[in-house]
Amino acid sequence: MPGDGVEVVVGLATEIRVSLRTGDLMAKASNSQDRLLLAGLGPLRSAARYDEEAVLLETVSGERWLVRMSPVSGLVATVEPAVGVGSAPRGGDRCATAT
């Protein structure tokens, strides 16, 4: 995500960086290069840890999506509309950093 300007770091089992511009989810691969976990669908209003395995994304148009990672592979396992899901229930765990 070169030159994104704004990204959010979400601490799950591994550290995940979310570009607020593109919505892309990235993780550090074993060769220390960035690995694309999920290509985003456009700008986000916010990205935050939801629980130990999931990231809650909110688009600028107000859609909210729950992206769940596999604790085994570290890859995206499911994507679901976050219907009836509160925002970042574990607010204390939230680690959002503008870079």
Binding site: M1, N31, L36, L38, A39, L75, A77, T78
Partner: protein, 408 residues
Amino acid sequence: MRDGDVIVAGAGMAGLLTALALARRGAHVVLVEPSRVGTGQSGQSHGYLHRGYAYGPDEPRLPALLGSARKHWQGLLARIPPVTAGSTIAFSDPDAVRRAERYWRDSGLAVRPRTTPEWLTEAPVACFDSAEPTYNVGVVLRGLWAQACSAGIEVRPGAVERIEASGDGVRARITEPDGGTAVVRARSAVLAAGAGTPGLLARSGLPAAVQLRKAFMLVLRGRLPAVSAVFPEREEHGLFLASRVGDDGLATWLVSDFQSFDSGGCDPGQLAGWWARRVLLTLRRVVNATVLARVDAVSGYPATKSGLLPSSGTVAHEFGIELLDGRVVVAGPSKLTLAPLAARHAASTVATRLGLRSDDGGWDPITPVPPDRSPARETWETSMAALDHPDLLGRLPDIGTLSELYHR
């Protein structure tokens, strides 16, 4: 008493090539396939025969391996015309195309400068042509299947549920299509079951030698040009695009990207729809609008990627591993292009164990076989749920609608 010299589990590209290589060395091969040929990874492939692609300096051994595999493909495909003789490699960053072109040339790969083709927008600003052909994999599978049937290979419909040592050989328990079980004994076995291999290894109490990843394919049908292209810039969302031409003369585009997802058993929710929407957005950026307007239907299917552990990913350097004191060989090419090398490795390992004659002659050229004379099909050739007359230039289908295409 043995039923054969070697059991080959899986009649995909690697399994068929292994079975044929062993049969021509004089082995009695029992080929076990649970469903239609091409149901697994082989039938989900783009059909690219890579020569180097954009792996770049991180994969320094691949060009030589791909070059070695290419020699086998040239023999196999001597009678089969490619769908596209080369591929367009398109970048949006002019510096990136210069770096890639230089790397390819330095690796001994054939590249040709070219202007942006008409079917692309101006967004990809720099291109070159590679000598990477694409093939209708269904034609290849049908031809190999015909060869297997005439080579005396014993085909057993069913799934290998478990394999274990027995005497100085192996014993395979097979679930047959009617639900019955059978036991097949042989001196050796080759596991070329793709996505089925991890489960088979686990049920057999053997090491987890193969890892799986989930991917998706987007299928576009319409009055489209038969092209193949790679958009290697991952930061810009890189894509693969390959074509097939059906009996009606219309082209089908098979589109995927560099992403892979967890292959666990949980319901992926709307992941497929999310992925498909992202691919459509990227296509809209790189493909000329007049071409996209000709898409009559959108379909898709989930695909599996497998590779050997521990160093495999989507681009493995190794493609065979021996288990049970060499009685079992796991053949796991991470790419279709490498299937002949995986088959050659497996066949050579088994032949040495069985004391069979050496044979370095490769395979016979494949003769095209009409689809109605063979059960082999690529996934795109099968019936799929479709979204007809999609508006790919205006408001794209929503994620839930696209997900339905993959769930049916």
